[in-house]
Amino acid sequence: MSDSDHEDGAILTDEEIEALSRPIQTIRLSTYGEALLTKTFAFKVYFFGISTLATAYLVAYFIGALDTHLAYGWSEAREDYMLHQLRFMAGFVMLVSLHVWLLLQQRLDTLLISCASLQTYFQFSGTAHLISLQGAIYDAWFMVIYTFLQSIFLVLILLLLKEEWASRRKAWQVQVH
């Protein structure tokens, strides 16, 4: 090898050769059993609870069962209908992302913070808009159920976040010992 090659820095170090010869890690989805193995019991309960509730809520929306109860049912404004579509689609994306992230065995805290912020926004702007529409506020049962359901989602997301941190602490303690 000539001197000019040395000057170009073309010689690889042992670490670089080792890094290059290492097999490439492909993305692999684990099973739910594997993914939940390191999680706390409470995490599993909350995860099952939020998945079931969110799926039921989304199914109810997509078959049209909620149309008359949401803001669009009261105002019949095109903008409200578009907002519903966008928000339920966001809910669906959040649910799918949560499952995919879990199965990829990635950290869930960043995703859960995003979900919590979106859910808070949905709840407060949704309730404020329903109150401003006049009609909905007189349907006390509907308002109570709506607020209760939205709050449950928010509480479950926050509890999941808490348990995610607890699960990571638990996994770290196992590694140390």
């Binding site: 019949e76 095109r78 903008e79 409200d80 907002l83 966008l86 960043t110 926004y121 407060f124 808009h129």
Partner: protein, 132 residues
């Protein structure tokens, strides 16, 4: 250095958007097809201002006191992107008023704001997770 530049871009947008929203509110709110749609536009616009203030003040406090602000940025960035989608897809660019200079500036600087905020969030989160 890049982070500071992004902070400046975000700061400029935040000031501009707040000023524009207050101005629009004084002029009677966004112009929309039906009274209900106008009501919706006004409610959401008020929420935009509240969100901006609600995220900017704690960010400044955390930044000044050296506390972890990465979680706040994650929440703020998610909402910034989602409200952008709502404004564009559902509300026909509710904040865009071509007659007002602030309306044009807010509309055109929004993509820069979103990219800058995303960069800040990724950087802050990366720094936080590598520290932990």
């Amino acid at each position: 250095m890049m982070y500071r530049l992004c902070e400046v871009a975000v700061g400029l947008f935040v000031s501009l958007a707040t000023y524009h929203a207050i101005l629009l509110h004084r002029l009677g709110g966004p112009v929309m097809m039906t009274p209900d749609a106008m009501l919706l536009g006004r409610t959401l616009m008020d929420y935009r201002v509240l969100l901006i203030i609600g995220f900017t003040l704690p960010y400044l406090y955390f930044r000044a006191t050296g506390k972890d602000y990465s979680q706040l940025l994650v929440a703020g960035c998610t909402l910034a992107w989602f409200t952008f989608l709502e404004d564009t897809l559902a509300l026909d660019n509710v904040l865009f008023v071509p007659e007002l200079v602030t309306g044009k500036l807010t509309q055109f600087s929004r993509p820069v704001f979103l990219i800058a905020l995303t960069f800040m969030t990724v950087e802050a989160r990366r720094a936080r997770l590598s520290y932990v």
